[in-house]
Protein backbone atom coordinates (compact mmCIF):
# COMPACT_ATOMS: atom_id res chain seq x y z
CA UNK A 1 0.00 0.00 0.00
CA UNK A 2 1.49 3.39 -0.89
CA UNK A 3 2.31 5.67 2.00
CA UNK A 4 0.09 8.54 1.05
CA UNK A 5 -3.03 8.91 -1.07
CA UNK A 6 -4.47 11.91 -2.82
CA UNK A 7 -7.90 11.07 -1.40
CA UNK A 8 -9.23 8.79 1.32
CA UNK A 9 -12.96 8.16 1.15
CA UNK A 10 -14.58 6.78 4.31
CA UNK A 11 -17.60 4.59 3.55
CA UNK A 12 -18.42 2.69 0.36
CA UNK A 13 -22.11 3.55 0.08
CA UNK A 14 -23.44 5.39 -2.99
CA UNK A 15 -21.85 8.67 -1.87
CA UNK A 16 -18.37 7.30 -1.21
CA UNK A 17 -18.26 4.97 -4.21
CA UNK A 18 -19.39 7.78 -6.54
CA UNK A 19 -16.76 10.15 -5.18
CA UNK A 20 -14.02 7.51 -5.38
CA UNK A 21 -15.06 6.69 -8.94
CA UNK A 22 -14.85 10.24 -10.25
CA UNK A 23 -11.59 10.98 -8.39
CA UNK A 24 -9.93 7.80 -9.69
CA UNK A 25 -11.20 8.37 -13.23
CA UNK A 26 -9.39 11.70 -13.13
CA UNK A 27 -6.10 10.16 -12.19
CA UNK A 28 -6.10 10.66 -8.43
CA UNK A 29 -4.78 8.00 -6.08
CA UNK A 30 -7.84 6.98 -4.07
CA UNK A 31 -8.39 4.75 -1.06
CA UNK A 32 -11.98 3.72 -0.29
CA UNK A 33 -12.47 2.33 3.23
CA UNK A 34 -15.54 0.31 4.22
CA UNK A 35 -16.25 -1.11 7.67
CA UNK A 36 -18.60 -3.85 6.45
CA UNK A 37 -17.69 -7.27 5.13
CA UNK A 38 -18.44 -5.83 1.68
CA UNK A 39 -19.96 -2.57 0.42
CA UNK A 40 -23.69 -2.70 1.06
CA UNK A 41 -23.51 -5.16 3.94
CA UNK A 42 -24.45 -2.35 6.37
CA UNK A 43 -26.72 -0.38 4.07
CA UNK A 44 -30.47 -0.18 3.79
CA UNK A 45 -32.93 1.51 1.52
CA UNK A 46 -36.49 1.02 0.35
CA UNK A 47 -35.03 0.32 -3.01
CA UNK A 48 -35.82 3.04 -5.55
CA UNK A 49 -32.73 3.98 -7.52
CA UNK A 50 -32.96 7.03 -9.75
CA UNK A 51 -31.54 6.77 -13.22
CA UNK A 52 -30.28 10.29 -13.75
CA UNK A 53 -27.68 10.66 -11.00
CA UNK A 54 -26.46 7.07 -11.28
CA UNK A 55 -25.96 7.49 -15.01
CA UNK A 56 -23.74 10.49 -14.36
CA UNK A 57 -21.30 8.19 -12.57
CA UNK A 58 -21.68 5.04 -14.69
CA UNK A 59 -23.19 5.70 -18.14
CA UNK A 60 -25.85 3.16 -19.20
CA UNK A 61 -25.39 1.37 -15.89
CA UNK A 62 -28.68 -0.53 -16.31
CA UNK A 63 -27.06 -2.69 -18.96
CA UNK A 64 -24.82 -4.35 -16.40
CA UNK A 65 -25.80 -3.27 -12.87
CA UNK A 66 -27.69 -5.74 -10.67
CA UNK A 67 -31.02 -3.93 -10.90
CA UNK A 68 -34.27 -5.66 -10.04
CA UNK A 69 -36.99 -4.03 -12.15
CA UNK A 70 -37.51 -0.76 -14.01
CA UNK A 71 -40.48 0.98 -12.34
CA UNK A 72 -43.42 1.60 -14.69
CA UNK A 73 -46.02 2.44 -12.10
CA UNK A 74 -45.90 4.76 -9.13
CA UNK A 75 -48.83 4.50 -6.73
CA UNK A 76 -49.85 6.57 -3.72
CA UNK A 77 -52.18 5.16 -1.11
CA UNK A 78 -53.85 7.33 1.52
CA UNK A 79 -54.82 4.78 4.14
CA UNK A 80 -57.63 4.65 6.63
CA UNK A 81 -58.33 1.73 8.94
CA UNK A 82 -60.36 -0.21 6.39
CA UNK A 83 -60.16 1.84 3.23
CA UNK A 84 -57.85 3.85 1.08
CA UNK A 85 -57.80 6.59 -1.53
CA UNK A 86 -55.48 5.46 -4.27
CA UNK A 87 -53.75 7.47 -6.98
CA UNK A 88 -50.92 6.83 -9.33
CA UNK A 89 -49.38 6.91 -12.74
CA UNK A 90 -48.39 4.06 -15.01
CA UNK A 91 -46.56 4.54 -18.27
CA UNK A 92 -45.11 2.06 -20.72
CA UNK A 93 -42.47 4.62 -21.68
CA UNK A 94 -40.88 3.99 -18.28
CA UNK A 95 -40.24 0.39 -19.33
CA UNK A 96 -37.87 1.59 -22.04
CA UNK A 97 -34.55 3.38 -22.17
CA UNK A 98 -33.65 5.71 -20.70
CA UNK A 99 -36.09 4.55 -17.94
CA UNK A 100 -37.38 6.56 -15.00
CA UNK A 101 -36.07 4.64 -12.01
CA UNK A 102 -35.41 1.10 -10.84
CA UNK A 103 -35.79 -1.11 -7.82
CA UNK A 104 -32.53 -2.49 -6.44
CA UNK A 105 -31.27 -4.59 -3.55
CA UNK A 106 -28.61 -2.52 -1.84
CA UNK A 107 -26.25 -5.26 -0.68
CA UNK A 108 -25.97 -6.29 -4.31
CA UNK A 109 -26.07 -2.91 -5.96
CA UNK A 110 -23.52 -1.32 -3.60
CA UNK A 111 -21.01 -4.13 -4.18
CA UNK A 112 -21.30 -3.61 -7.90
CA UNK A 113 -21.20 0.18 -7.65
CA UNK A 114 -18.05 0.11 -5.50
CA UNK A 115 -16.49 -2.31 -7.98
CA UNK A 116 -16.95 0.32 -10.69
CA UNK A 117 -14.80 2.69 -8.62
CA UNK A 118 -12.18 -0.05 -8.29
CA UNK A 119 -12.23 -0.50 -12.06
CA UNK A 120 -11.37 3.18 -12.37
CA UNK A 121 -8.34 2.58 -10.17
CA UNK A 122 -9.55 3.21 -6.61
CA UNK A 123 -8.26 0.86 -3.92
CA UNK A 124 -11.06 -0.61 -1.77
CA UNK A 125 -10.43 -2.10 1.65
CA UNK A 126 -13.29 -3.70 3.54
CA UNK A 127 -13.69 -4.73 7.18
CA UNK A 128 -11.94 -1.59 8.39
CA UNK A 129 -13.44 1.04 10.68
CA UNK A 130 -12.11 4.57 10.55
CA UNK A 131 -11.93 5.54 14.21
CA UNK A 132 -10.98 9.18 13.80
CA UNK A 133 -9.52 11.76 11.49
CA UNK A 134 -5.88 12.61 12.05
CA UNK A 135 -5.69 16.36 12.49
CA UNK A 136 -2.38 18.24 12.33
CA UNK A 137 -2.10 22.00 12.55
CA UNK A 138 -5.85 22.48 12.13
CA UNK A 139 -5.93 20.35 8.98
CA UNK A 140 -7.19 16.82 8.42
CA UNK A 141 -4.21 14.88 7.06
CA UNK A 142 -5.38 11.29 7.25
CA UNK A 143 -7.37 8.70 9.16
CA UNK A 144 -6.78 6.32 12.07
CA UNK A 145 -8.28 2.88 11.43
CA UNK A 146 -8.87 -0.12 13.67
CA UNK A 147 -6.15 -2.08 11.89
CA UNK A 148 -2.75 -2.57 13.48
CA UNK A 149 -0.50 0.26 12.25
CA UNK A 150 -3.70 1.69 10.89
CA UNK A 151 -2.79 5.34 10.23
CA UNK A 152 -3.12 6.36 6.59
CA UNK A 153 -2.45 9.79 5.12
CA UNK A 154 -3.96 11.81 2.27
CA UNK A 155 -4.35 15.35 0.98
CA UNK A 156 -8.12 15.12 1.41
CA UNK A 157 -10.41 12.92 3.50
CA UNK A 158 -14.00 12.55 2.33
CA UNK A 159 -16.52 11.58 4.99
CA UNK A 160 -19.17 9.39 3.35
CA UNK A 161 -19.94 7.49 6.51
CA UNK A 162 -23.71 7.79 6.42
CA UNK A 163 -26.33 8.93 8.91
CA UNK A 164 -24.26 7.88 11.92
CA UNK A 165 -21.39 10.15 10.95
CA UNK A 166 -19.42 9.95 14.13
CA UNK A 167 -16.48 11.43 12.22
CA UNK A 168 -18.15 14.68 11.10
CA UNK A 169 -19.52 15.06 14.61
CA UNK A 170 -16.14 14.54 16.21
CA UNK A 171 -14.69 17.26 13.96
CA UNK A 172 -17.36 19.56 15.34
CA UNK A 173 -19.13 19.91 11.99
CA UNK A 174 -22.47 19.26 13.63
CA UNK A 175 -23.94 18.42 17.01
CA UNK A 176 -25.66 15.11 17.60
CA UNK A 177 -28.80 14.90 15.48
CA UNK A 178 -32.07 15.28 17.37
CA UNK A 179 -34.78 12.59 17.44
CA UNK A 180 -36.95 14.74 15.14
CA UNK A 181 -34.14 15.01 12.57
CA UNK A 182 -33.98 11.29 11.84
CA UNK A 183 -36.55 8.74 10.74
CA UNK A 184 -36.35 5.21 12.11
CA UNK A 185 -37.41 2.62 9.53
CA UNK A 186 -37.96 -1.09 9.75
CA UNK A 187 -38.45 -3.20 6.68
CA UNK A 188 -38.63 -6.74 5.41
CA UNK A 189 -37.83 -8.52 2.19
CA UNK A 190 -40.51 -11.07 1.35
CA UNK A 191 -39.75 -13.67 -1.29
CA UNK A 192 -42.52 -14.29 -3.76
CA UNK A 193 -42.59 -15.96 -7.18
CA UNK A 194 -42.35 -13.53 -10.06
CA UNK A 195 -45.67 -14.61 -11.58
CA UNK A 196 -47.51 -13.94 -8.35
CA UNK A 197 -45.98 -10.47 -8.03
CA UNK A 198 -46.95 -9.66 -11.60
CA UNK A 199 -50.53 -10.86 -11.06
CA UNK A 200 -51.01 -8.97 -7.82
CA UNK A 201 -49.57 -5.69 -9.04
CA UNK A 202 -50.83 -5.96 -12.60
CA UNK A 203 -47.36 -6.10 -14.13
CA UNK A 204 -45.90 -7.74 -17.19
CA UNK A 205 -42.48 -9.30 -17.59
CA UNK A 206 -39.86 -7.41 -15.64
CA UNK A 207 -41.87 -4.23 -15.05
CA UNK A 208 -41.90 -2.91 -11.50
CA UNK A 209 -44.33 -1.00 -9.30
CA UNK A 210 -43.66 1.27 -6.35
CA UNK A 211 -46.23 2.21 -3.73
CA UNK A 212 -45.87 5.07 -1.24
CA UNK A 213 -48.28 4.74 1.66
CA UNK A 214 -49.50 7.55 3.91
CA UNK A 215 -51.94 7.83 6.78
CA UNK A 216 -52.94 4.93 8.98
CA UNK A 217 -49.71 3.04 8.16
CA UNK A 218 -47.86 5.20 10.68
CA UNK A 219 -50.69 5.37 13.19
CA UNK A 220 -50.77 9.14 13.16
CA UNK A 221 -47.02 9.76 13.39
CA UNK A 222 -45.14 11.66 10.73
CA UNK A 223 -43.81 9.09 8.32
CA UNK A 224 -44.60 6.75 5.46
CA UNK A 225 -44.68 3.13 4.49
CA UNK A 226 -43.67 1.63 1.15
CA UNK A 227 -44.07 -1.44 -1.00
CA UNK A 228 -41.61 -2.02 -3.84
CA UNK A 229 -41.44 -4.93 -6.25
CA UNK A 230 -38.17 -6.71 -6.94
CA UNK A 231 -37.67 -9.56 -9.43
CA UNK A 232 -38.96 -12.24 -7.11
CA UNK A 233 -39.35 -10.46 -3.81
CA UNK A 234 -41.15 -7.50 -2.30
CA UNK A 235 -39.67 -4.86 0.00
CA UNK A 236 -42.11 -3.59 2.59
CA UNK A 237 -41.19 -1.04 5.20
CA UNK A 238 -42.41 1.72 7.46
CA UNK A 239 -40.77 4.56 9.30
CA UNK A 240 -41.57 7.58 11.40
CA UNK A 241 -39.40 10.23 12.96
CA UNK A 242 -37.60 8.80 15.95
CA UNK A 243 -39.40 11.42 18.05
CA UNK A 244 -42.71 10.13 16.66
CA UNK A 245 -41.78 6.55 17.48
CA UNK A 246 -40.93 7.60 21.04
CA UNK A 247 -44.13 9.63 21.38
CA UNK A 248 -46.34 6.81 20.13
CA UNK A 249 -44.50 4.24 22.29
CA UNK A 250 -44.75 1.91 19.34
CA UNK A 251 -42.01 -0.59 18.54
CA UNK A 252 -40.73 -0.35 14.98
CA UNK A 253 -41.23 -4.05 14.28
CA UNK A 254 -44.73 -3.94 15.71
CA UNK A 255 -45.55 -1.04 13.41
CA UNK A 256 -44.16 -3.12 10.55
CA UNK A 257 -46.46 -6.01 11.51
CA UNK A 258 -49.36 -3.59 11.69
CA UNK A 259 -48.62 -2.46 8.14
CA UNK A 260 -48.19 -6.03 6.89
CA UNK A 261 -51.55 -6.97 8.37
CA UNK A 262 -53.43 -3.89 7.24
CA UNK A 263 -56.47 -5.03 5.26
CA UNK A 264 -55.52 -2.80 2.31
CA UNK A 265 -51.93 -4.10 2.20
CA UNK A 266 -52.15 -7.73 3.27
CA UNK A 267 -53.62 -9.02 -0.01
CA UNK A 268 -50.50 -7.89 -1.86
CA UNK A 269 -47.99 -9.56 0.41
CA UNK A 270 -49.68 -12.44 2.20
CA UNK A 271 -47.86 -15.77 1.89
CA UNK A 272 -44.64 -13.92 1.02
CA UNK A 273 -41.71 -15.74 2.56
CA UNK A 274 -39.71 -13.48 4.95
CA UNK A 275 -36.11 -13.41 3.79
CA UNK A 276 -34.54 -10.54 5.70
CA UNK A 277 -35.38 -7.97 8.36
CA UNK A 278 -33.60 -4.61 8.32
CA UNK A 279 -33.62 -1.36 10.25
CA UNK A 280 -31.87 1.94 9.60
CA UNK A 281 -32.14 5.68 10.16
CA UNK A 282 -32.81 8.24 7.46
CA UNK A 283 -31.44 11.73 8.08
CA UNK A 284 -34.52 13.86 7.57
CA UNK A 285 -33.50 17.08 9.24
CA UNK A 286 -33.54 18.83 5.87
CA UNK A 287 -32.04 22.19 5.03
CA UNK A 288 -31.50 23.43 8.57
CA UNK A 289 -29.70 20.24 9.59
CA UNK A 290 -27.04 20.35 6.87
CA UNK A 291 -23.74 20.40 8.75
CA UNK A 292 -20.59 22.25 7.85
CA UNK A 293 -19.64 20.69 4.50
CA UNK A 294 -15.98 21.54 4.06
CA UNK A 295 -12.99 22.02 6.28
CA UNK A 296 -9.23 22.03 5.87
CA UNK A 297 -8.49 18.78 4.04
CA UNK A 298 -11.98 17.35 4.57
CA UNK A 299 -15.42 17.15 2.91
CA UNK A 300 -18.74 15.66 4.05
CA UNK A 301 -21.10 14.01 1.53
CA UNK A 302 -24.32 12.00 1.31
CA UNK A 303 -26.31 11.02 4.39
CA UNK A 304 -23.45 12.20 6.59
CA UNK A 305 -24.32 15.69 5.32
CA UNK A 306 -28.11 15.15 5.80
CA UNK A 307 -28.62 15.35 2.03
CA UNK A 308 -31.98 13.58 1.86
CA UNK A 309 -35.28 14.79 0.48
CA UNK A 310 -37.79 12.94 2.59
CA UNK A 311 -40.80 13.97 0.50
CA UNK A 312 -39.49 12.40 -2.68
CA UNK A 313 -37.62 9.56 -0.91
CA UNK A 314 -34.47 10.82 -2.61
CA UNK A 315 -31.30 9.85 -0.81
CA UNK A 316 -29.04 7.60 -2.83
CA UNK A 317 -29.21 9.98 -5.79
CA UNK A 318 -28.26 12.98 -3.66
CA UNK A 319 -25.49 10.86 -2.15
CA UNK A 320 -24.09 10.12 -5.60
CA UNK A 321 -24.40 13.70 -6.82
CA UNK A 322 -22.75 15.09 -3.72
CA UNK A 323 -19.95 12.53 -4.19
CA UNK A 324 -19.45 13.73 -7.73
CA UNK A 325 -19.43 17.39 -6.70
CA UNK A 326 -16.92 16.63 -3.96
CA UNK A 327 -14.70 14.85 -6.49
CA UNK A 328 -14.84 17.82 -8.85
CA UNK A 329 -13.84 20.17 -6.04
CA UNK A 330 -10.96 17.90 -5.08
CA UNK A 331 -9.72 17.76 -8.68
CA UNK A 332 -9.76 21.56 -8.77
CA UNK A 333 -7.98 21.75 -5.42
CA UNK A 334 -5.33 19.38 -6.71
CA UNK A 335 -4.72 21.61 -9.73
CA UNK A 336 -4.25 24.59 -7.44
CA UNK A 337 -2.46 22.51 -4.83
CA UNK A 338 -4.74 24.07 -2.21
CA UNK A 339 -6.61 21.62 0.01
CA UNK A 340 -7.60 24.18 2.60
CA UNK A 341 -11.22 24.94 3.40
CA UNK A 342 -11.04 27.83 0.93
CA UNK A 343 -9.45 25.64 -1.73
CA UNK A 344 -12.25 23.08 -1.38
CA UNK A 345 -15.05 25.60 -1.01
CA UNK A 346 -16.39 25.04 -4.55
CA UNK A 347 -17.92 21.81 -3.19
CA UNK A 348 -20.07 23.75 -0.73
CA UNK A 349 -21.22 26.26 -3.31
CA UNK A 350 -21.97 23.49 -5.86
CA UNK A 351 -24.19 21.73 -3.35
CA UNK A 352 -26.17 24.85 -2.52
CA UNK A 353 -26.47 25.84 -6.20
CA UNK A 354 -27.59 22.38 -7.32
CA UNK A 355 -30.94 20.60 -7.15
CA UNK A 356 -29.85 19.31 -3.74
CA UNK A 357 -29.56 22.69 -2.05
CA UNK A 358 -32.52 24.10 -3.92
CA UNK A 359 -34.87 21.21 -3.18
CA UNK A 360 -33.91 21.02 0.47
CA UNK A 361 -34.41 24.76 0.78
CA UNK A 362 -37.83 24.55 -0.87
CA UNK A 363 -38.99 22.03 1.74
CA UNK A 364 -37.07 23.52 4.64
CA UNK A 365 -40.09 23.94 6.92
CA UNK A 366 -42.02 20.92 5.81
CA UNK A 367 -41.09 18.33 8.42
CA UNK A 368 -41.50 20.82 11.18
CA UNK A 369 -44.91 21.93 9.91
CA UNK A 370 -46.20 18.38 9.67
CA UNK A 371 -44.73 17.40 13.01
CA UNK A 372 -46.39 20.42 14.66
CA UNK A 373 -49.69 19.92 12.83
CA UNK A 374 -50.70 16.28 13.05
CA UNK A 375 -54.15 17.12 11.62
CA UNK A 376 -52.81 16.68 8.10
CA UNK A 377 -52.32 13.00 8.71
CA UNK A 378 -54.83 12.34 11.43
CA UNK A 379 -57.79 14.26 10.08
CA UNK A 380 -57.50 14.94 6.38
CA UNK A 381 -56.61 11.44 5.21
CA UNK A 382 -59.57 9.87 7.04
CA UNK A 383 -61.77 12.72 5.73
CA UNK A 384 -60.66 12.06 2.18
CA UNK A 385 -61.47 8.41 2.64
CA UNK A 386 -64.95 9.18 3.94
CA UNK A 387 -65.51 11.70 1.16
CA UNK A 388 -64.51 9.20 -1.52
CA UNK A 389 -66.69 6.55 0.06
CA UNK A 390 -69.73 8.85 0.15
CA UNK A 391 -69.14 10.10 -3.36
CA UNK A 392 -68.86 6.66 -4.91
CA UNK A 393 -71.67 5.06 -2.91
CA UNK A 394 -74.82 5.12 -5.04
CA UNK A 395 -77.67 5.52 -2.59
CA UNK A 396 -80.10 7.80 -4.32
CA UNK A 397 -78.75 11.04 -2.85
CA UNK A 398 -78.26 13.64 -5.58
CA UNK A 399 -74.59 14.34 -6.24
CA UNK A 400 -74.89 18.05 -5.44
CA UNK A 401 -76.24 17.26 -1.99
CA UNK A 402 -73.43 14.75 -1.52
CA UNK A 403 -70.81 17.29 -2.38
CA UNK A 404 -72.29 19.79 0.03
CA UNK A 405 -72.25 17.18 2.78
CA UNK A 406 -68.66 16.25 2.02
CA UNK A 407 -67.61 19.91 2.17
CA UNK A 408 -69.41 20.21 5.49
CA UNK A 409 -67.61 17.19 6.88
CA UNK A 410 -64.29 18.73 5.88
CA UNK A 411 -64.95 21.94 7.74
CA UNK A 412 -66.87 20.50 10.69
CA UNK A 413 -63.77 19.50 12.65
CA UNK A 414 -61.49 22.47 12.32
CA UNK A 415 -63.96 25.03 11.02
CA UNK A 416 -63.85 26.63 7.57
CA UNK A 417 -61.11 29.01 8.54
CA UNK A 418 -59.03 26.24 10.07
CA UNK A 419 -59.17 24.24 6.86
CA UNK A 420 -58.27 27.23 4.74
CA UNK A 421 -55.39 28.01 7.07
CA UNK A 422 -54.16 24.42 6.93
CA UNK A 423 -54.35 24.34 3.15
CA UNK A 424 -52.50 27.62 2.88
CA UNK A 425 -49.83 26.41 5.27
CA UNK A 426 -49.44 23.13 3.40
CA UNK A 427 -49.18 24.99 0.12
CA UNK A 428 -46.62 27.37 1.58
CA UNK A 429 -44.27 24.66 2.80
CA UNK A 430 -44.58 22.66 -0.44
CA UNK A 431 -44.51 25.51 -2.95
Amino acid sequence: MPEKFDVIVVGAGPAGAACANVCAKNGLKVLLIERGEYPGSKNVMGGILYRKQTEEIVPEFWKEAPIERPVVEQRFWLLEKESMVSMGYKGKEWAQEPYNNFTVLRAQFDQWFAKKAVEQGALLINETVVLECIVEGGKVVGVRTDRPDGDIYADVVVLADGVNSLLAKSLGFHKEFKPDQVALCAMEVLNMPKGKINDRFGLEGNEGCSVEIFGDATQGQLGTAFLYTNKDSINIGVGTTLSGMIRAKVKPYELLEYVKNHPMIRPYIHDGEPAEYLAHLIPEGGYYAIPKLTGNGVLVIGDAAQLVNAIHREGSNMAMSSGKMAAEAIIKAKQNNDFSEVGLDSYRTSIYDSFIGKDLKKYKDLTHTFEANPQYLNEYIPLMNRAASQFFTIDGTPKREKQAKIMQSFTAGRGKLGVVKDMYQAWKVMK
Partner: protein, 93 residues
Protein backbone atom coordinates in the same frame (compact mmCIF):
# COMPACT_ATOMS: atom_id res chain seq x y z
CA UNK B 1 -44.76 -14.92 8.33
CA UNK B 2 -42.05 -13.74 10.71
CA UNK B 3 -44.38 -12.20 13.26
CA UNK B 4 -42.33 -11.82 16.39
CA UNK B 5 -39.10 -9.94 16.72
CA UNK B 6 -37.32 -13.20 17.60
CA UNK B 7 -38.43 -14.67 14.26
CA UNK B 8 -37.37 -11.52 12.43
CA UNK B 9 -33.96 -11.44 14.05
CA UNK B 10 -33.39 -15.02 12.91
CA UNK B 11 -33.54 -13.78 9.33
CA UNK B 12 -30.47 -11.64 9.81
CA UNK B 13 -26.82 -12.63 9.66
CA UNK B 14 -24.52 -11.41 12.43
CA UNK B 15 -20.83 -11.73 12.93
CA UNK B 16 -20.77 -10.68 16.55
CA UNK B 17 -17.57 -9.55 18.16
CA UNK B 18 -16.72 -10.86 21.61
CA UNK B 19 -16.77 -7.35 23.00
CA UNK B 20 -19.86 -5.13 23.08
CA UNK B 21 -19.85 -1.97 20.99
CA UNK B 22 -22.66 -0.55 23.15
CA UNK B 23 -22.06 0.50 26.73
CA UNK B 24 -24.49 1.85 29.30
CA UNK B 25 -22.51 4.58 31.00
CA UNK B 26 -24.48 4.80 34.22
CA UNK B 27 -26.87 1.99 35.13
CA UNK B 28 -28.27 4.03 38.01
CA UNK B 29 -29.62 6.59 35.54
CA UNK B 30 -31.66 3.99 33.67
CA UNK B 31 -33.41 3.05 36.90
CA UNK B 32 -33.97 6.52 38.29
CA UNK B 33 -33.94 9.05 35.47
CA UNK B 34 -35.60 7.32 32.55
CA UNK B 35 -39.31 6.80 32.65
CA UNK B 36 -40.28 3.70 30.73
CA UNK B 37 -36.71 2.86 29.70
CA UNK B 38 -37.49 4.07 26.23
CA UNK B 39 -34.59 2.37 24.44
CA UNK B 40 -36.39 -0.90 25.15
CA UNK B 41 -39.30 0.47 23.11
CA UNK B 42 -37.78 1.92 19.96
CA UNK B 43 -34.75 -0.32 19.43
CA UNK B 44 -35.55 -2.25 16.24
CA UNK B 45 -33.27 -5.12 17.21
CA UNK B 46 -34.77 -5.62 20.69
CA UNK B 47 -31.26 -5.22 22.04
CA UNK B 48 -32.20 -3.55 25.32
CA UNK B 49 -34.00 -5.61 27.97
CA UNK B 50 -35.01 -4.18 31.31
CA UNK B 51 -34.89 -6.95 33.84
CA UNK B 52 -36.38 -5.64 37.04
CA UNK B 53 -33.72 -3.17 37.99
CA UNK B 54 -30.97 -3.45 35.43
CA UNK B 55 -30.50 -3.00 31.71
CA UNK B 56 -29.20 -5.92 29.70
CA UNK B 57 -27.66 -5.15 26.35
CA UNK B 58 -27.85 -7.94 23.77
CA UNK B 59 -25.44 -6.15 21.44
CA UNK B 60 -25.13 -9.24 19.24
CA UNK B 61 -28.49 -8.42 17.64
CA UNK B 62 -27.78 -4.75 16.96
CA UNK B 63 -28.65 -3.31 13.53
CA UNK B 64 -26.22 -0.44 14.09
CA UNK B 65 -29.00 2.01 13.28
CA UNK B 66 -27.92 4.65 15.80
CA UNK B 67 -31.38 5.26 17.28
CA UNK B 68 -30.37 4.56 20.86
CA UNK B 69 -27.48 7.02 20.70
CA UNK B 70 -29.79 9.76 19.42
CA UNK B 71 -32.92 8.74 21.35
CA UNK B 72 -31.54 8.14 24.85
CA UNK B 73 -32.75 11.21 26.75
CA UNK B 74 -29.84 10.97 29.18
CA UNK B 75 -26.93 10.54 26.75
CA UNK B 76 -26.32 7.37 28.65
CA UNK B 77 -25.10 5.10 25.86
CA UNK B 78 -21.57 4.97 24.56
CA UNK B 79 -22.15 4.02 20.94
CA UNK B 80 -19.36 2.75 18.73
CA UNK B 81 -19.17 0.82 15.50
CA UNK B 82 -18.30 -2.86 15.91
CA UNK B 83 -14.76 -3.74 14.86
CA UNK B 84 -14.24 -3.89 11.08
CA UNK B 85 -16.05 -6.83 9.48
CA UNK B 86 -18.08 -7.54 12.63
CA UNK B 87 -21.69 -6.83 13.44
CA UNK B 88 -24.69 -7.06 11.17
CA UNK B 89 -24.31 -8.32 7.59
CA UNK B 90 -27.19 -7.49 5.25
CA UNK B 91 -27.53 -9.65 2.17
CA UNK B 92 -30.53 -8.06 0.44
CA UNK B 93 -32.35 -4.75 0.61
Amino acid sequence: MAKTIEEKQYLVRYKADKKSHLTILNHEKCATECEGQICTLFCPGDVYKWEGDRMFVGYEGCHECGSCRIGCPNDNIKWEYPLGGHGIVFRLA
